[in-house]
Symmetry: C2
């Protein structure tokens, strides 16, 4: 193994923006000896090969190359994990590490519980990872080697996680520039339900509700800088975000309840001319947000 190499043979399942960027970063930093790529759509895998994201494509779990990979990087919608793992695990070496890059974690932990009896030891070699990177663009063509430089990556280890495997995955993310933090899956989902999933839900819902007004589309043409920034995330992928909302429904809907209670208080204060309550709520938010700085 060359100096600095962490994995001999990496298999990327999913080679879009996230998976493709992980491969490019691994190759650029010399962290993986050989990079294999798989996509459910053959043309996506071929595009990744042509772009130099992977060294080789495989057609599926039957490919003999699958038998000697030492790490699998799962960068596909979380709802596809179970089916894809069930297909690939019988062909993968028993000590092969697996890590993902999805936005929800408790649902993946539950899925691993369900697969563990069929694939004993799976939870020991699976590391749950969530790089805080991405955006509106997608596909292999959007992948870049520096996507994770300076960005946070949350690792959620399970009680069963093998420490040596976890260490390798930590070293990998650190080597491609990510700042690491660790928390359990429940805390992760609560935190990102609050600071990412709920804002997305509200932004989608706000735009959809104004579109429901007879003159809504006409009104929105006049939106200024406030409208622009507030609604930017409403342009995100409906499929991806429907997945996230469903997969993290418990934490998301609990945070939504808090928001609904707050908006009900504001409505009541406006209706009753209760200036003190109105200003108190606005001042709390303004005071906090004025001093907020991005990590």
């Amino acid at each position: 193994m060359a100096k600095g190499t962490i994995f001999n043979r990496m298999l990327a399942i999913g080679v879009g923006l996230i998976g493709g960027s992980i491969c490019l970063a691994a190759k650029k930093k010399g962290l993986a000896g050989h990079v294999l790529g798989y996509s459910r759509k053959l043309e996506t895998a071929h595009e990744a090969l042509k772009l130099g994201i992977v060294d080789e494509c495989i057609a599926g779990p039957g490919d003999s190359n699958v038998r000697n990979v030492d790490v699998v990087v799962l960068s596909i919608p979380v709802r596809q994990y179970k089916q894809v793992l069930t297909q690939f695990l019988p062909s993968l070496p028993p000590n092969c590490l697996i890590f993902d890059a999805g936005s929800t974690k408790s649902d993946v932990a539950v899925m691993l519980d369900e697969l563990e009896p069929q694939f004993p030891g799976l939870k020991a070699r699976f590391v749950l990872a969530h790089p805080i990177a991405g955006g509106e663009s997608h596909g292999p063509a959007a992948a870049v080697a520096n996507l994770f430089e300076g960005r946070n990556c949350v690792l959620c280890s399970l009680p069963q996680t093998n420490p040596a495997g976890l260490k390798k995955v930590e070293n990998f993310w650190a080597a491609i520039g990510a700042k690491l933090s660790t928390m359990n899956a429940m805390d992760h989902d609560e935190m990102f339900g609050a600071v990412s999933h709920l804002p997305h839900l509200l932004a989608f819902s706000y735009v959809a509700s104004v579109l429901g007004h007879p003159k809504g589309a006409e009104f929105m043409k006049e939106g200024g800088a406030g409208y622009r920034d507030f609604t930017r995330i409403a342009a995100s992928s409906p499929e991806m975000w429907a997945d996230i909302f469903q997969n993290n429904s418990a934490a998301l809907l609990s945070m939504l309840s808090g928001f609904e209670a707050n908006i009900a208080s504001l409505r009541k204060a406006i209706e009753n001319g209760d200036r003190a309550t109105l200003e108190r709520i606005l001042a709390q938010a303004s005071e906090y947000r004025s001093h907020w700085k991005q990590n």
Copy 2:
């Protein structure tokens, strides 16, 4: 009157970010022969004088200079209009034009109805204006001559508005770089209730509701680019926005009802695993917002 001059003697009531920027722009473009400034806080008026925003300060409606102004620019919180106008109108020449720069318009139209019997002809010489400019900063020190360059300014003429006076105000705003549009006060309030006031209410409420969670402040430290942009407007002035929410409560709460109905549909779809409804609502928003461009 020098070439290009629109007004001989302008009185700015309020010399903060908006009023101060109007004065600076008027002076830079040679649109006003002499600029007088008034602020309820004497030190603010003196600051404006020192910064070259106004040529002279006046202490109040008793100042003899008030008797020969030909235009008044009202750039103070909308809730103070009635009291300030009641104080100044007896001293102002009967044909003096007045225009404002506030964010709500129907409430000002109602206030003018209330003052009209006491000051006959007031509605004929008052032009309701709303420049779409401003932001988190405030005070005379934040004023700049080019604040309105390329920005929209909505004029809401009343049926009683004197056409010659309206034309002068239009020429003034156009000369300081604003792009003009015209609509009635009700339409204005409905439009800005939808595209500005409701997003501000939701952003304030979102931050306040997360702060209400035991770990909310800790969670928000981890907010990424989506959180940053979605919440930027929650750092705005609580006093100013409490005014706007109260002054435009009818249009705002009506738009809020549409939003609440939409978020209830999304909650139900998530709770029931109704993927089709969930994706349909998200796709509507994403499709619209992906093609939206700022005017």
